[in-house]
């Protein structure tokens, strides 16, 4: 029988190291994958991923299943940790726009849709500039001003792209969910 994430987190909140072991094994690839995507350096990404699980362990009792999935809760922790590393370690070279292009590239559309993640398919339906802006903010924590500067557009344009892009993505995700639900 496979334990649910909620059960594992409850176990972790109670200090059960076996629950932690299963939880880490289950989620390490997506946590490390996100960390690597943001900071770009494998050794640093491993530190970020480790730190993510340490924080999840310490705050397992703060996870509320009514507010979302354990996966996204965990990835939000990873994203915060990764962004904080970027803010402090100015010696890490990172090019968020280039990274985002690797997942926004229309030539890889088929690849992305095939991975089966709903958000991949949904984002494919959002206009490219909007999608780029949303991912720069959501993953790299860039502000409107930073996005404007990096993509070479006025601040108002960047903010509009972020605003419309996120709503567009939300609407696509909602539509897909409605289609799937009988």
């Amino acid at each position: 029988m496979t334990a649910s994430d909620e059960a594992l987190l409850a176990g972790m909140a109670a200090g059960d190291p076996d629950a932690a072991a299963v939880f880490v094994r289950r989620h390490q690839a997506r946590v490390y994958g996100l960390a690597l995507f943001v900071v770009g350096i494998p050794a640093v990404a491993e530190e970020v991923a480790q730190e993510t699980f340490v924080r999840a362990w310490r705050h397992a009792d703060a996870f509320d299943p009514r507010r979302g999935r354990a996966t996204t809760w965990l990835l939000a922790i990873a994203r915060h940790a990764a962004i904080d590393v970027l803010r402090v370690r100015r010696d890490i070279p990172v090019d968020p726009v280039a990274m985002v292009e690797t997942i926004a590239d229309p030539d890889r559309l088929a690849e992305r849709v095939a991975t089966g993640t709903a958000v991949n398919a949904a984002l494919a339906r959002v206009p490219r500039e909007q999608a780029t802006a949303v991912v720069l903010a959501a993953v790299f924590g860039l502000s409107g001003a930073e996005i404007a500067e990096r993509t070479g557009v006025p601040l108002g344009t960047a903010k509009t792209r972020i605003r419309l892009g996120l709503r567009h993505l939300r609407d696509e995700l909602t539509t897909m969910r409605e289609v799937d639900t009988p």
């Binding site: 640093v44 991923a49 699980f53 340490v54 996204t72 590393v85 090019d95």
Partner: protein
């Protein structure tokens, strides 16, 4: 401004909060509006859920084979336990006494661990850390907790704390007299709390910050994002302490009942803070909290 005009005016702000890129002021304005606007609350909820999903876009990657083992080794029963001996060494000194199990990559791990900072998850700050050496010692944990809760309200993003110690001269051990708190926000600030104030009626709080331009930075560009791989950048642990620094005077810390507290806004990022010191009325340094120490 009607209610719906307010909703429209806050659309960008709401988006920023959903994406986790809003500053404290923006977040405050949005939260205040949400207190009386159900539709915006629902809007934020659905937008935040969509923003969370975006994190799934990053491709999954397997870390190294012993990753799981190393994580589990760090899940100790008292994760907040820290010793004062861990405080004041630079990341470039690998021979410091280790409080954790030693692994081949110990030095890099310590440096990177200190570089992974506390931040908000959900609504709370999780812990203290910092680039280099800032750690809360046990007696200050209660104080740190109360500051953290203040920062949670203000969407605090980076709390670092360091021991404030007096120099009792050669051969003497430093005595801890208080704590320095640093908050990275918009703006950043430093706050000093002295528990054991000594003889003077007041002290001046002086913050020393890094001020030199970083070597190799391209003119007009953000140094953090334009170093090519393999290029020589500045050594984060190595610069001469006195070169390229300036001082910010934060004002007096007036002693009452053997304690004092004072603080002020910084015009730099917290990780540019080199040291915070208290000077007595004669100008001599009475106590200091250092990010780096000389040998």
């Amino acid at each position: 401004m009607t209610a719906s005009e307010r909703c429209a005016a806050l659309r960008d702000a709401l988006t920023e909060v959903a994406l986790g890129v809003a500053d404290g002021t923006t977040r405050g304005a949005v939260m205040a509006h949400l207190a009386t606007c159900d539709s915006c609350r629902e809007e934020l909820s659905s937008l935040a859920a969509a923003a969370d999903e975006v994190l799934l876009l990053a491709p999954e990657r397997e870390p190294s084979a012993d990753f799981e083992g190393r994580v589990l080794a760090r899940l100790s029963p008292d994760p907040d336990l820290r010793s004062p001996a861990e405080d004041l060494r630079t990341p470039a000194e690998p021979d410091r006494p280790a409080a954790e199990p030693v692994h081949p990559v110990t030095v890099r791990r310590h440096r990177a661990r200190r570089a992974v900072l506390a931040t908000a998850v959900g609504v709370g700050l999780l812990g203290a850390g910092g680039a280099g050496v800032w750690l809360a010692t046990a007696p200050d944990r209660e104080l740190a907790t109360s500051y953290r809760s203040t920062l949670e309200t203000a969407n605090g993003r980076y709390l670092a704390a360091a021991d404030l110690t007096t120099d009792t001269g050669s051969g003497g051990s430093a005595q801890s007299v208080g704590t320095v708190f640093l908050y990275e926000g918009n703006p950043s600030w430093a706050y000093v709390v002295v528990r054991d104030a000594g003889a003077a009626p007041s002290y001046d709080v002086v913050v020393t910050v890094d001020d030199g331009a970083e070597a190799g930075a391209a003119a007009g560009s953000d140094p953090a994002h334009h170093y090519p791989h393999g290029a020589d950048g500045p050594d984060p642990g190595g610069p001469d302490l006195t070169a390229g620094t300036r001082e910010i005077a934060l004002g007096p810390c007036v002693v009452e009942a053997d304690t004092c507290s004072a603080g002020g806004v910084l015009d730099v990022a917290v990780h540019d803070v080199v040291s915070v010191r208290l000077t007595d009325p004669d100008g001599a340094t009475w106590a200091v909290a250092d990010r780096r120490i000389t040998d």
